[in-house]
């Protein structure tokens, strides 16, 4: 990084623990407001449970509405953590250090948000217990393991467990610092329990680093499988045109990375504004994430292009009719235009300019646009596919999300924000040990009249392996 500020460990502790050890003025109003929104959403959910799914806009033939679109969206956002943390950790990208924790934590909360959406969607969520404790063998109500709806909870649940473990392992050294700094005995005791006796001995560091690398590598296949499986909920069907496409798994994943990494950039901007972390999250970090986003967004757009080209390549009239509905007919046409413009046409050309890439404000708003577009993308995949009139459909064009659905969807957004704020109150949102390690490893090399950033290479030096040969 060119704009490096060398900080002492003491300074890092003070800066990054400020959010935990003190209460900012805005924190309580923000948490109260978000809590209110979450409670309203939960109220809407209980109202829906009491009155049944009739209070939603769901009706034949659209039995998958905004709940499912929202589910896919949050699964997408959850890919940010692993993309940023695991992949960048394995590739030893130095700029990852201050942003990994926020990305990982967002993964956990967005997975919880994703999981509870389909639970609400099914109308009678308590029946999920029958999957765990089938009460009557003879009635054949065992979950059908051939159904994608069994794959989904398994994959998402595995991902949630793995991500939580990943967050926890990476948190250990920071929890130990909090344990040592906490003044109240009860707080100290809680942190002490959570730190699992971490004292920073060489062996503990070695194990912690090894666990981080192993979990990074192991969680990657889970990361890929989760959204693949979600995409196959749609793609294995042959009855709905537009869904039966082989590209869906990679297309969903790259879309997830697009929206997830954008969400991380949003979080970075919010961290700078709310917690004053500008000494840690610098324009260089925004620049790096914007470069990554250019690649991801362009790849995503290419996949989108292929999906459309091959849909039209079939020359099948229903497929063509669906595409016309998605792109040109009311009300989906304008939504489609907004989706394309916000997810690609506006942000990507803007990111080509260095000034935009290095601006916190520009990066925040462009990534907000991306996520608006990506939510609409999921909506446009789910709803028009089901709503289109076919020869066996006697009822069509009827879906309008009700206020109950809208409140529940809004609740998921508030839930994730609330979760992040509460997490930041008890644990640091920027990993202290990772930032310190980066400071220790950092050097500068003079090349001619320029000074360029340099880092101590992780792993054993080259000549070590040569000797072994």
């Amino acid at each position: 990084m060119q704009e490096h500020t060398q900080l002492s460990h003491k300074q890092i502790n003070e800066d990054l623990l400020k959010g935990v050890l003190t209460v900012p003025k805005w924190w309580l109003p923000a948490v109260s407001f978000l809590g209110l929104v979450v409670l309203t959403g939960l109220g809407a959910f209980f109202f829906m449970m009491y009155h049944g799914l009739g209070v939603t806009g769901l009706n034949r033939p659209v039995m998958w509405g905004v709940f499912i679109a929202n589910f896919v969206f949050w699964i997408g956002i959850s890919h940010a953590g692993i993309m940023i943390s695991a992949i960048l950790r394995l590739t030893q990208a130095e700029w990852r250090r201050p942003i990994t924790r926020a990305a990982e934590v967002m993964t956990v909360f967005s997975l919880i948000a994703a999981l509870h959406t389909p639970l609400m969607h099914v109308g009678r969520p308590w029946r999920v217990l029958y999957w765990i404790f089938p009460y009557d063998f003879s009635r054949g109500i065992w979950p059908n393991i051939r159904s994608p709806f069994v794959w989904d909870p398994s994959a998402v649940g595995t991902y949630l467990i793995a991500s939580s473990l990943f967050v926890f392992v990476c948190l250990l050294p920071d929890i130990a610092i909090l344990r040592d700094r906490a003044k109240k005995p009860i707080v100290k005791k809680i942190y002490a329990q959570m730190a699992l006796g971490f004292r920073g001995t060489p062996r503990q560091w070695k194990l912690q680093i090894l666990a981080g690398i192993l979990l990074s590598a192991l969680v990657l296949p889970v990361f890929v499988s989760v959204h693949s499986i979600v995409s196959w909920d749609f793609a294995v069907l042959i009855g709905v045109e537009g869904w039966h496409s082989t590209i869906f798994a990679p297309y969903f994943i790259i879309g997830a990375i697009h929206s997830g990494v954008s969400a991380v950039a949003m979080l970075m901007a919010l961290s700078v504004w709310l917690y004053g972390l500008d000494k840690y999250i610098k324009p260089d970090h925004f620049d790096a994430i914007a470069r990554l986003l250019i690649v991801v967004a362009t790849t995503w757009f290419f996949f989108f292009f292929l999906e459309w080209v091959y849909a039209l390549y079939t020359l099948a009239p229903p497929e063509i009719a669906l595409r016309e509905l998605q792109a040109f007919q009311w009300p989906y046409g304008p939504l489609f235009a907004i989706f394309i413009i916000t997810s690609f046409v506006i942000p990507v050309p803007l990111w080509l300019f260095k000034r935009v890439r290095r601006s916190v404000v520009w990066m925040f708003w462009t990534t907000v646009l991306v996520n608006i577009g990506m939510w609409l993308e999921r909506f446009l995949i789910v709803i028009p596919g089901l709503i289109r009139r076919t020869h066996m459909t006697f009822d069509w064009g009827t879906y309008h999300p009700s206020i109950v659905e809208i409140l529940i969807v809004v609740e998921t957004f508030a839930f994730v924000c609330l979760g992040m704020l509460l997490f930041a109150k008890v644990l640091p949102l920027v990993p202290l040990f990772d930032v310190k390690e980066g400071m220790v490893n950092r050097r500068l090399i003079k090349v001619g009249r320029r000074v360029i950033p340099a880092t101590i290479r992780e792993g054993l030096p080259h000549h070590y392996y040569e000797k072994k040969q």
Partner: protein, 475 residues
């Protein structure tokens, strides 16, 4: 806050008489290896040359057999696709790490770029294929939007495919030339005989001024990015024009990506094997280290895992969907007469690299990556044969106008290659290797300027009780 980095600024690289690694030493060392041409080199060149002559004989023989029966052209197209998958994709191994500022690519990049020269052979192989591509007049599907098909020229697929393939070769040659400019200047200044003469001509007055270096980096970045985009588009065209269009009912939107990904995997394997031979037999042992095999090994592992994911993503949607026409496509490529070939490919391209490259000791060796690269390359060749021979066999049954294939249309046995097919296969692969070998006589196989640049960015320092390497990363 410690704003002053103080002792963290390392002194610039200074050459002294005592330096072990100096720019001059690197130049002298690499030029010394480059200038030696052993007898064994010429023996192998002669062997590959003879094989290439057989390839040309096979090529002429094939042309004389005519274009009427498409089912006999499957092996020919498979060889074309294999060369497209390997030699044309190899430069990506130089481009991608260069954009990502990875230092381990430095000894690799030149060899990867030289493979673009073999693209010229692809152009020769491509010419007869123009006559074999179905035109839009035959009722074949077009990639043009459905509403505009009326006004599209019947031979537009031919035009697009030709432009893409020629464009890729030209971009590859430009990339190679740009990357070699500073080394041509070294040959001009320090070389002898014909190398000095050609180095002078190709260096175009390169003096190494700041402006020239800035332009050099800039142009290489731009041409590299365009090469990547063109490579993806070429594989998009090849997978559509030479595969999908011939098989009724095969609508696989993921396949162009799979094809491009296969190319990246085989490209990495090609470069890996090239590095092995350059290190073991080319005299570059001091320059091509285990770091390079380690870096390439990680790439190959990731790409092998992706191979499975892409394959399974397509397979699962077809298999689980249960659509009759898609079941027929699966029967054609996976379950039918090509089942055993598919299992072999699956083992060579996915299982073997996965279960071996996952272990660090294998990746950090020389022989491990070389053996696995061979496995991947054989698997890729067999995969091209499976896909192209099967689809051209179907195309030979004149079903191009139909939109869906039925199970009874699936061939019951594998097409066997003729002698001319074997000649072409062996001859043109040998021809590519021959072109690579001959090119290394003029162009140094390991980049001189990138190796020297590395000296500026690398330093060894004392860190507590050990010595560590510090790497600079310029933006």
């Amino acid at each position: 806050m410690v704003n002053d980095p103080g002792d963290r600024v390392l002194e610039p690289y200074v050459e002294t008489d005592n330096s072990v690694e100096t720019r001059k030493a690197v130049s002298d060392g690499l030029l010394g290896i480059h200038n030696i041409t052993s007898n064994r080199f010429w023996q192998f060149a002669a062997l590959f040359g003879i094989m290439f002559i057989f390839g040309i004989v096979g090529f002429v023989w094939k042309l004389s057999s005519g274009f009427d029966d498409k089912s006999t052209w499957g092996y020919y197209v498979a060889v074309f696709a294999f060369l497209m998958t390997t030699s044309s994709a190899a430069p990506m191994v130089a481009i991608a790490p260069r954009i990502a500022n990875s230092h381990w690519r430095r000894p690799i990049s030149r060899a990867a770029e030289i493979w673009t020269l073999a693209g010229c052979l692809n152009l020769i192989l491509y010419i007869p294929l123009i006559w074999l591509l179905p035109s839009l007049e035959n009722g074949r599907r077009s990639l043009w939007f459905y509403g505009q098909q009326e006004g599209v020229p019947a031979y537009s697929p031919h035009i697009w495919a030709t432009l893409a393939i020629v464009g890729l070769v030209l971009l590859g040659l430009s990339l190679l030339w740009l990357s070699t400019l500073p080394d041509f200047a070294v040959l001009r200044d320090q070389g002898e005989g014909w190398k000095k003469k050609w180095g002078g001509k190709l260096a175009l007055g390169w003096r190494g001024t700041s402006a020239q270096w800035n332009w050099q980096h800039h142009r290489m970045g731009v041409v590299g990015a365009f090469y990547f985009m063109m490579l993806v588009f070429v594989h998009f065209f090849i997978s559509v024009e030479f595969l999908m269009v011939h098989v009724p009912g095969w609508i696989d939107s993921l396949y162009p990506i799979t094809h491009a990904h296969n190319a990246l995997q085989a490209g990495v394997a090609t470069v890996m094997l090239t590095m092995f031979f350059l290190r073991q037999f080319g005299g570059y042992k001091d320059y091509i280290g285990l770091d390079q095999f380690w870096g390439l090994g990680k790439l190959l592992l990731a790409l092998s895992l992706l191979w499975f994911w892409f394959w399974f993503s397509s397979f699962n949607v077809f298999w689980y969907g249960g659509k009759p026409s898609e079941q027929a496509v699966l029967e054609l490529f996976v379950k039918g007469p090509y089942l055993y070939l598919f299992i072999t490919i699956f083992i060579l391209v996915f299982i073997l690299p996965w279960f071996t490259m996952i272990w660090n000791p294998v990746r950090r060796s020389v022989w491990g990556p070389a053996i696995l690269a061979t496995s991947v390359l054989i698997g890729t060749l067999l995969d091209r044969i499976r896909l192209y021979v099967a689809s051209w066999d179907v195309a030979g049954r004149s079903m191009a106008k139909e939109l869906e294939m039925k199970m009874q249309d699936v061939p019951t046995k594998i097409q066997t290659p003729g002698y001319e097919d074997i000649f072409i296969m062996v001859g043109f692969i040998a021809g590519s290797i021959l072109i690579f070998m001959l090119a290394t006589r003029l162009i140094p196989a390991v980049n001189l300027w990138e190796q020297k640049e590395m000296l500026l960015y690398k330093a060894e320092i004392q860190f507590h009780r050990t010595k560590v390497t510090v790497m600079g990363k310029p933006r």
